[in-house]
């Protein structure tokens, strides 16, 4: 029964696709509609461009650390001479349950950003930027997909500016000045302490940037003690070496922060390296 419901849910978007006209400057491929968006340049020499994924219901794409399964999108830019695109910047992802595994990614919509450097005195009438994207889109099953999108920077939609601003606001930030994070490594878990936290709001999650360090399916245990917040993170079963720092995103209700947290080993966590077998 459940299987039938799923099939129907998958058919519905396909039917819609049959009657919807194709949008210009972008393309619809397997379960994701991808488009490039740009806002008018402020003539500072750089401008943000966005790669917008609109996903069919139930389908998702992945963050840079996909978690237990999956693969992040990869982009190859095709730019006019002198233009340069910065690294793709990803908003904070969500946890996505997948047959008992936990992945990190995006459902319904995600805008990935890149900072475009425009050469001084750029005068071309048709500065066209284009990108080839390879990505994995998954629901019950995963489908590798490719897409090519392009955009003429002269033909910009004014509505894009607000979309790009919203996307920038969703990028992880640095911790505010005066807020510090450190961690100690136990045998089973890392204990991350952040403080003072009142100016951060409620910490709700920690998402690791590195695979193979934290057990993705063990939800962090978060406790407040005074002005600090402690986050207990279960170690990954695959972690077989000491960790000097924890990299990841600290998620609060409303914001996300990039953190690089120095890790101190407790005596008990410094167990001898695992025995070797042959």
């Amino acid at each position: 029964m459940e299987f039938r419901t799923r099939s129907l849910q998958m058919i519905a978007p396909m039917l819609l696709l049959c009657i919807a006209p194709a949008a210009p400057q972008s393309s619809k491929s397997q379960h994701a509609h991808i488009s490039l968006i740009a806002a008018p340049s402020d003539h500072s020499g750089t401008q943000w461009i966005g790669l917008r994924f609109q996903l069919d219901p139930g389908w998702h794409i992945y963050w840079t650390n996909p978690g237990d399964s999956g693969e992040p999108p990869k982009i190859t830019w095709h730019l006019p001479s002198g233009f340069q695109a910065g690294d793709l910047q990803f908003p904070a992802p969500h946890r996505i349950a997948d047959h008992g595994l936990t992945d990190y990614g995006y459902e319904s919509e995600a805008v990935l950003l890149s900072k475009l450097t425009v050469p001084a005195g750029e005068t071309s009438n048709k500065p066209e930027i284009a990108a080839d994207i390879r990505y994995l889109v998954c629901r019950e099953v995963c489908i590798p997909a490719k897409d090519h999108v392009s955009l003429n920077l002269r033909e910009q939609n004014a509505g894009n500016a607000s979309q790009l601003q919203a996307a920038q606001a969703r990028l992880p930030q640095s911790l505010p000045r005066g807020v510090h994070a450190r961690a100690i490594a136990g045998v089973q878990a890392f204990l991350l302490s952040v403080g003072p936290t009142p100016q951060l709001g409620q910490i709700t999650d920690f998402i690791p940037s590195d695979a193979q360090v934290i057990d993705n399916s063990a939800k962090p245990q978060i406790t407040k003690s005074g002005v600090a917040t402690q986050v207990r993170l279960k170690k990954s079963e695959q972690l077989d070496h000491p960790v000097g720092e924890l990299n990841g995103l600290l998620i609060t209700n409303g914001q996300s922060y990039n953190v690089v947290v120095p890790v101190t080993a407790t005596k008990s966590s410094r167990k001898p390296s695992s025995p070797k077998h042959n």
Partner: protein, 200 residues
């Protein structure tokens, strides 16, 4: 009813963590039926190296290694050196990768795949016993029946077949090192691939 409801999450927890095996552990024994109807008891292969390969023919990560011929090449090379290679299919009926014995035999023939055997595990018993997470997920066992490698097939966690060349194949490395009497340098890695499509 209430008992069943509270019991189910506990079972799910066991399936994923408690039974997961670690490098250095004695590999849990099992008996599985292959696509020709033959039974294979793991402990009967004591004295030989054994590779366990979790498989789903529709998963793009699995396809990367079969459509590029990489998996078949590994199967050929290592079974040629006396290794027992067991492909295990733990997809539940109705889910991606589930195959009947006939379908699997057709697939093996079409892909020129040469594992020692392809075990059909539609209930996920063997998968849960080993805590197999993804397809592919690879285990290597030494002749004493201990797990000497648990993790990814290689260090390129992508679906792109062109990444097979130049990848560091952890399974081959583990077998080479163990066969020459050395310790396995990289014994545990994060397996990459699609989730194993166990019965819910």
């Amino acid at each position: 009813m209430k008992t069943i409801r509270s019991f189910l999450p506990v079972l799910a927890l066991f399936a994923l963590s408690a039974f997961a095996v670690k490098v250095g552990d004695q590999a849990p024994d099992f008996t599985g039926t292959d696509s020709h109807g033959q039974m294979h008891k793991l402990s009967d292969y004591r004295g030989k190296f054994v590779v366990l390969e979790w498989h789903n023919n529709g998963c793009p990560f699995t396809k990367k290694h079969y459509e590029s011929g990489n998996m078949q090449k590994l199967q050929q090379e290592w079974t040629g050196k006396g290794v027992i290679w067991l492909t295990v299919i733990s997809s539940s009926p109705g889910s991606q990768g589930y195959v009947t014995a006939d379908q699997e035999n057709e697939y093996l023939q079409k892909m020129h795949a040469v594992p020692t055997a392809a075990l059909l595990d539609p209930k996920g018993d063997i998968g849960h016993l080993y805590g197999a997470k993804t397809t592919p997920h690879m285990f290597v066992l030494n002749p004493q029946g201990q797990i000497i490698y648990n993790g990814a097939i290689d260090d390129k966690a992508t679906t792109d077949p062109s990444d097979v060349n130049g990848a560091n194949n952890y399974v081959s490395k583990a077998l080479q090192e163990a066969m020459s009497g050395r310790a396995v340098a990289v014994a545990t890695t994060r397996p990459y691939g699609c989730s194993v499509k166990y019965a819910d």
